[in-house]
């Protein structure tokens, strides 16, 4: 089986002076939860946007399940962007229907279970909800798809610690053995135990690609501690 994600010499230049991503080579296997870590401006969101066909590489390739990003890849990739794109005058129930219409692999029942577990009123309009609750709704919609690759850009940044625990549980519970989750975050300590692998990127380069337990075994320290050391300002 082909790897779910492959980046070959992937580069993205926004202007002539600097590279947001510089010759990145990376392969992600199926059935893993992967943390994409790096300081602000290191290229995390650029990589995520390239995977989701929102940017075109300056050179190199992104392959999802062996093919370039496009209509087919969007069927199997479930993407949580950094900023919301939903129409905030819609009711939650309307958003659920909207997603169910849009994606064949959307599981309506799963979405309603999570909404009720988190006490979110399905009749409320998105714009009446707090910032954190809006983030929860978006994440629920994204996790309710039966995708092969979930790409989550800062999924737990704005939610309270209790809901964060629930969301991490949901990730453990819902993800199947063939699916891969790639998530970017600064809250390393909170998610470290649910990751298989971490990828550090620095100034558009791959700085580290190792499993959490390899890091602990070889360095005798947590990923969080290692991150603070590697990226000390």
């Amino acid at each position: 089986m082909k790897p779910i994600l492959e980046c070959q010499g992937l580069s993205k230049q926004y202007n002539n002076t600097s590279c947001a991503l510089d010759n990145l080579n990376l392969t992600l296997e199926r059935g893993q939860i992967v943390g994409l870590l790096g300081p602000n401006g290191s290229g995390k969101t650029t990589l995520i946007k390239l995977i989701n066909d929102l940017l075109t590489p300056t050179c190199g390739n992104v392959l999802i399940d062996g093919s370039r990003p496009g209509v087919e890849s969007k069927k199997i990739v479930s993407y949580l962007p950094e900023h919301t794109y939903l129409d905030d005058s819609m009711k939650i129930s309307e958003l659920v229907t909207y997603f169910a219409d849009f994606y064949e692999n959307f599981i309506t029942e799963r979405a309603y279970t999570m909404l009720s577990d988190l006490g979110i009123d399905k009749n409320a309009r998105l714009k009446t909800l707090s910032k954190g609750t809006k983030e929860k709704v978006q994440l629920i919609l994204v996790m309710s798809r039966d995708a092969l690759l979930y790409v989550l850009d800062e999924p737990i940044g704005g939610v309270d610690p209790a809901a964060r625990d629930y969301i991490l549980q949901t990730i453990i519970n819902n993800y199947n053995e063939n699916a891969t989750i790639l998530l970017s975050t600064h809250l390393i300590q909170d998610i470290e135990n649910i990751l298989d692998r971490v990828i550090f990127i620095r100034q558009g380069h791959l700085a580290l690609n190792a499993t959490v337990d390899e890091i602990r075994m070889e360095q005798g320290k947590s990923v969080d501690t290692l991150f603070r050391e590697v990226f000390r300002c």
């Binding site: 059935g31 893993q32 939860i33 625990d165 991490l168 549980q169 453990i172 519970n173 300590q189 470290e192 135990n193 649910i194 990751l195 298989d196 959490v212 337990d213 602990r216 075994m217 005798g220 320290k221 947590s222 969080d224 501690t225």
Partner: protein, 122 residues
Amino acid sequence: MPWNLDDSRPIYLQLMEKIQQDIISGTYRPGAKLPSVRELALDAAVNPNTMQKALSELERSGLVYSQRTSGRFITEDESMLKQLKTELAARHIREFFEKMEQLGFPQEETLALVQETVKEES
């Protein structure tokens, strides 16, 4: 409640230790069925693959065995359980002596202190 894991040692090792502890303390009886990988992973709040690895290692050591379709069970081999108990006790004792040495007590003094404490408490 997530399991209490420290952040410097490999997670799968700590999961193995916790399950060993639960076997010795009787949370899981000899011959009892273990919860599924996913249930254990959820309970511990860890990655299911890491839990899988911990269970495979326990299986390799013989403490746990799997039956194709019905899941994983704790061994009923009493001598193996006894050996595990002895090993865990030895580990705790070593750690204790190391800590006492860091406080500046040689082994004989530590032993004397232990005896004193036992006397006081009885």
